[in-house]
C-alpha cells in the first residue's frame, strides 16, 4: 500500500508512526513495516557498492530498500548469518542521504562483494565518506529491481521520510489476508486526508504482473519468429516449384537419357541445399551482429554459439522438407515430355 503526502503540512514521520501502530495492532496481522521499494515491482532504488573509500575498483550493482527492525520478519526472510537491526539503529533519512552504518545484504550480494566468504562484519562503501558495515546476511530474495542481478539486495535501517512517500508492507496470518486488506485500506485512507493512498495489492499480484510481462514477450516473439520461419519455407517452396515447372522439358530429357527418379530429387534438393547453405552462412554473420547489437544496447546476454548452431540445423531441416514436395513432383515428370515441342 503506497502513501504519498499531498500537502506541505503532511507530517510523514507521525503518519508512519500512526500507520505502523494501527497495522501492528490489527487482528490478523503477523507483521508490518515501512519501505521505499516494494519487492517484485521493478520500482525501486539501485546503487553501487565498492570495497574502498576512494571508490576505486568495480562497483557491485544492487537494489536498495530501507526497512525497520520488523522488515525481515514482515518479508519472512530468514537470516543465515549475523543479526537483524535493533530498533535504535533505525534512522530517518531526512536531510539528505545520511545512512546508518549498519546494513544487511543477501547471500548473493555478499558473495559478489566477498567471493572468499568474509562478508559478515566487513566494511564497504556506497559514497566516499559513507562506510557501511555488514551486520547480517539473509538468504536470497528478489528486491524491487528485477532486471540485472535480482537477488542483489542491500537493506538499510531507515524510515523513508525525505520525499513524503512510503510503502506499507504487511504480512497477514494465514486465511486473514482479505480481511486485513479491507480494514487496512479503509483505515489508512481515512487517517490521511491530506495524502494520496494507493491501492493495496499482494506480492503475488506483483509477481504475476512481472511474470505475465515476460511470458507475453516470450510468446509474441516466438509467434513472430515462427511466422518468419513459415514464410521463409514458403519462399524456398515457391522457388523450387518455379524451377521445377520452368525446367520440365529439361527434366524429361534427363529422364529419357537414363536419370533415375531419385537423381532428379537429389538435383533439386542439392540446389535448395546450396541456397540454404549460403543463407545460413550470411545468416550466421547477421545473427552474431544482431546479437552483439542487442547485448550492447539492451543488456541481453551474449548470443550463445549453440543457439546459432541449433538455428542452422532447424532452418536447414525445415527448408529441405519444404523443397522436397516440388522435387518429388519433378521426379514424376515422364521421359516422354522430352519428345514434345512445348
Amino acid at each position: 500500500m503506497a502513501v504519498a503526502g499531498l500537502s506541505q503540512e503532511f507530517n510523514v514521520a507521525s503518519a508512519q508512526r500512526g500507520d505502523l501502530g494501527y497495522l501492528r495492532g490489527l487482528p490478523g496481522v503477523a507483521a508490518a513495516t515501512i519501505t521505499t521499494g516494494e519487492p517484485l515491482t521493478n520500482n525501486g532504488t539501485s546503487t553501487g557498492l565498492t570495497h574502498s573509500a576512494d571508490l576505486t575498483g568495480t562497483a557491485v550493482q544492487t537494489s536498495e530498500i530501507s526497512l525497520d527492525e520488523e522488515g525481515l520478519h514482515t518479508l519472512d526472510v530468514a537470516l543465515v548469518a549475523g543479526r537483524n537491526f535493533r530498533a535504535d539503529e533505525i534512522t530517518s533519512d531526512t536531510g539528505g542521504p545520511q545512512r546508518g552504518s549498519a546494513i544487511i545484504v543477501t547471500e548473493s550480494l555478499a558473495h559478489a562483494l566477498f567471493p572468499d566468504g568474509h562478508a559478515l562484519g566487513a566494511t564497504i562503501y556506497e559514497y566516499a565518506n559513507q562506510p557501511l558495515t555488514i551486520i547480517g546476511i539473509t538468504r536470497d530474495f528478489m528486491g524491487p529491481q528485477l532486471g540485472g542481478p535480482a537477488y542483489h539486495v542491500c537493506i538499510v535501517p531507515q524510515l523513508p521520510t525525505t520525499f513524503g512517500f512510503y510503502h506499507l508492507l504487511v504480512r497477514a496470518l494465514p486465511g486473514r489476508r482479505d480481511a486485513v486488506i479491507r480494514n487496512a485500506q479503509r483505515h489508512i485512507a481515512s487517517a490521511h486526508p491530506d495524502a494520496g493512498v494507493g491501492f493495496t495489492h499482494t506480492l503475488a499480484d506483483s509477481q504475476r504482473q512481472f511474470t505475465a510481462a515476460g511470458r507475453n514477450m516470450a510468446f509474441f516473439l516466438s509467434a513472430v519468429t515462427a511466422l518468419m520461419l513459415a514464410v521463409c519455407c514458403l519462399g524456398l517452396f515457391g522457388l523450387t516449384a518455379f524451377n521445377v515447372s520452368s525446367r520440365t522439358k529439361q527434366i524429361g530429357v534427363r529422364r529419357a537419357v537414363g536419370a533415375r527418379k531419385r537423381d532428379i530429387v537429389t538435383y533439386f534438393l542439392s540446389e535448395s541445399a546450396v541456397i540454404l547453405g549460403s543463407g545460413a552462412l550470411l545468416g550466421t554473420v547477421l545473427a552474431l551482429a544482431l546479437g552483439q547489437w542487442l547485448s550492447d544496447h539492451y543488456g541481453e546476454p551474449r548470443l550463445d554459439l549453440a543457439c546459432v548452431l541449433a538455428g542452422i540445423v532447424t532452418l536447414c531441416a525445415i527448408g529441405q522438407v519444404a523443397a522436397w514436395h516440388p522435387a518429388r513432383r519433378a521426379a514424376s515428370v515422364p521421359p516422354s515430355i522430352a519428345t514434345r515441342t512445348v
Binding site: P39, L40, L75, D76, V77, R139, D140, F141, M142, L146, P174, G175, R176, R177, D178, T202, L203, A204, Q207, T211, G214, R215, M217, A218, L221, S222, V224, T225, M228, L229, V231, C232, G235, L236, L239, F242, I275, L276, S278, G279, A280, L282, G283, T284, L286, A287, A289, L290, G291, L294, E300, P301, L303, C307, V308, A310, G311, T314, L315, G319
Partner: protein
C-alpha cells in the same frame, strides 16, 4: 535473382531465429526463478 532473394530471406530468418531463442530462453529462466519469500495467496 529469385534465388538471391530467398538466400537473403533465409539469412534474416536465421538471424532473428537465433536471437529469439536466446532471448526467450533467458526470459523464461528469469521468470522461473523463485522470489525468495512466500508469495502464495492465503486469502
Amino acid at each position: 535473382m529469385g534465388a538471391l532473394l530467398v538466400v537473403a530471406q533465409i539469412a534474416i530468418t536465421l538471424a532473428v531465429l537465433c536471437n529469439t531463442v536466446s532471448i526467450v530462453a533467458h526470459a523464461i529462466a528469469q521468470i522461473d526463478r523463485p522470489a525468495g519469500f512466500d508469495t502464495r495467496d492465503t486469502s
